[in-house]
């Protein structure tokens, strides 16, 4: 089947979802009122509360929610074939992410723009705030671990991309100096930055960076060496002022996201590639089956709990009219779904023949360990359709993923530092409070230990449990979404509306998450992977806790209604 048809089918389904289901949500479930005075109007201060036109707000919201995760998950999940992956992206976006993101904006706007952590404490129970904190702790640990490995995999497989990926750092720092110190305008510097970045791609090809010598000296594998170097970089980056590196990198990332989306879809259309992956891949008995693993492998791109932080953090304080929440929340979710679609296309139509695809996705270990490599190969192929050499195109894709992953790790380690400090305060470990270097070291060492956990069935003997880590990350992300959906469901019920639209995805996610966690638990026990076992057990406890809290809150609300 031509890959273009998949674009038409997916975008067509998104259109129908927006046209009909989001309308149903707007009218029947969230009961949007165009006359409701939103916090942006009621509290308008021009600082946090600013009535903002919906097109501006969609731009803010979409660029904030989109990242590397909707690329990685689908790139792994096509292991089960393109049909389950795209079906979950479509159904998840239309009936999950759309409900979640849209609902988080409305619920927050109806509660004076309070964020989802505060709302969970208020709407569900006081304990839910602690639950939220713990879920975020696990999520960040796993985020940092998986993105550390993602970058290491890419650097090992594409040494030609190291120079352009690293050159982003001085470019961003120069932009930071220019914008924040010299107060200059950013258009020309960011264009120059982007040109320099792309000019560094052929330079990187000419001078690939290998760390084999260092790895040999340290007695480590190449990938382990890269993982350690990346975490060392993250330790330093997370100690720098945000204006120096993290903030200016946003200017580059924003442009990269748009360029990547445009070239992938243009490449598919121009090349008229066909999908060579099977619709449903018959996997061997005893290996991970798509049911339930698909639903936690693709989190971002189908439904992501972290979106509720953006939706209830900034977006809800700026919607000018409550009815705009549909366009921004549901529309933003569809944008993320489009990113997942791009990843599916790259990994199902960009890898060559059906035999090439079968080699790349021989088993789950190979599929997860090689997912990003397959994505960049696919993007390289699409760019070759546009007349750009495939290896340069692949380097371009590596740079896109690495800049997003690097930003995520920088943020994740900083956040983990704050959360560790908060947990230390709550637990009475005064020795940790205020010790930034020590806290940063802990925030780096915990995910680093996870990233280096051996394992990874059939991962070409590379010895990393990346696939397992990714599925654990997916479960925690779905738990965050579960918490937000619980808040939304209770709030909808309190308004005497039918909460099924939120309860169905909530129940589905919690069942799939629990199921996958139990299967993983048994696997880890059998393999003797104690570190992963502890993580899995911890997340399972949080899941059980969330189920109890959500059921109690819904029951309480139903009785009072």
């Amino acid at each position: 089947m031509p890959a273009f048809y998949l674009i038409v089918i997916t975008l067509g389904a998104f259109y129908l979802g927006y046209r009909f289901y989001s309308k149903y949500l707007a009218e029947r479930v969230y009961a949007l009122d165009p006359n409701f005075k939103t916090p942006a109007n009621e509290l308008a201060d021009g600082v946090d509360f600013v009535p903002t036109n919906k097109h501006i707000l969609l731009g803010h919201h979409f660029t904030a929610v989109a990242g590397a995760a909707p690329i990685v998950g689908p790139a792994i999940a096509v292991y089960w074939g393109w049909l389950p992956a795209i079906a979950w992206v479509i159904l998840g976006t239309v009936f999950g992410a759309g409900v979640h993101d849209f609902g988080a904006i409305v619920t927050s706007a109806r509660n004076r723009g309070q964020n989802i952590g505060t709302l969970s404490g208020k709407v569900i129970s006081a304990r839910a705030s602690t639950l939220f904190l713990l879920i975020i702790f696990f999520l960040l640990t796993l985020v940092n671990a998986v993105f550390g490995v993602v970058m290491a995999i890419l650097f090992e497989a594409h040494p030609g991309s190291v120079i352009p990926a690293v050159i982003v750092i001085p470019i961003a720092m120069c932009i930071g100096q220019w914008v924040y110190r010299m107060r200059g305008a950013v258009l020309i510097p960011s264009i120059i930055g982007l040109v320099l970045l792309y000019a560094a791609i052929p330079l990187g090809q000419a001078y690939p960076i290998h760390v084999d010598g260092l790895a040999e000296m340290l007695g480590l594998s190449v990938r382990t060496t890269w993982v350690i170097l990346i975490f060392a970089y993250t330790w330093v980056a997370s100690r720098l002022p945000v204006w120096l590196l993290l903030q200016p990198r946003d200017y580059i990332n924003g442009q990269q996201l748009l360029v990547a989306l445009v070239v992938i879809f243009a490449g598919v259309v121009v090349g008229w590639d066909t999908i060579t992956a099977p619709a449903v891949n018959e996997v061997a008995e005893g290996t991970k089956h798509w049911f339930p693993y698909l639903f936690i492998t693709i989190a971002c791109g189908a439904i992501s709990g972290f979106h509720s932080l953006v939706a209830s953090g900034t977006t809800s304080k700026q919607i000018a009219n409550e009815t705009d929440a549909r366009y921004i929340g549901y529309g933003g979710a569809m944008g993320e779904g489009a990113l997942a679609l791009a990843a599916i296309l790259a990994c199902t139509a960009g890898l060559g023949s059906a035999a090439d695809w079968q080699t790349a996705y021989a088993n789950f270990g190979a599929a997860s360990g090689g997912a990003l490599g397959n994505f960049v190969t696919g993007v390289g192929h699409f760019l070759s359709n546009l007349g750009i050499e495939a290896s340069l195109g692949a380097s371009f894709a590596v740079v896109v993923v690495v800049t997003f992953a690097g930003t995520t790790m920088d943020t994740g380690v900083r956040l983990q530092r704050y959360i560790l400090e908060e947990i230390a305060e709550l637990a009475g470990f005064k020795a940790l409070v205020g010790k930034t270097s020590l806290l940063t070291t802990l925030a780096v060492l915990i995910p680093l230990a996870l990233a280096l956990v051996p394992g990874g069935e059939g991962d070409g003997g590379k010895g990393f449990a990346f696939g397992q880590l990714w599925t654990l990350f997916g479960t925690t992300n779905q738990l965050t979404a579960g918490l937000a959906l619980s808040v939304i469901a209770v709030w909808v019920l309190a308004r005497d509306r039918n909460p099924l639209a939120a309860i169905v995805p909530l129940t589905f996610l919690l069942v799939m998450t629990s199921w996958a966690l139990v299967l993983n638990l048994l696997d880890f026990l059998a393999q003797g992977s104690w570190m992963l076992l502890i993580m899995d057990a911890g997340i399972f406890v949080l899941t059980a806790w969330l189920i109890l809290e959500a059921a109690t809150a819904l029951n309480r609300q139903r009785r009072s209604a």
Binding site: T52, L258, T314, T411, L415
Partner: protein, 149 residues
Amino acid sequence: MAKASWRDYLPQDGRAAHRLILVREQDAQHSGSGCCGRLGEAHTDLGGAADYRHSRRLMEDVGVIYREARAAFPQLVVEVVDPRNTVWLYPAVWQDARAANRSARACFASLRKAGAAVAVILDGEVLFSGRLPGTQRVIETIRARLAAP
């Protein structure tokens, strides 16, 4: 009914419409923060607000201008936008500048200066970029521009 575009926010009584765009960064991480992080931002549970103090100060400075401008010029459409929202900002500045019959050269000059940590743009003309003078001077400059034929 939802408004269809920014033009629907403009006065509908036939007066010449003017639009003021206030550019300033939100005190939060922007790209990739939904997958997976959300650093900065006052009123958040996660932390990082102190890291973004410099952006917060600019937000508050622009907030004063926003309130003063809305009070002084009720006919003015005032939009606040983050400079990282390039997809909206640059086309809007270009559109406003062309609508005000500015030359192509002036339009490009506006584009060049529009995206900054902070900027004040009236009808596609960048009045201040990078640094802001006192609020009163900004308001007086806007008043003078609006009064000009």
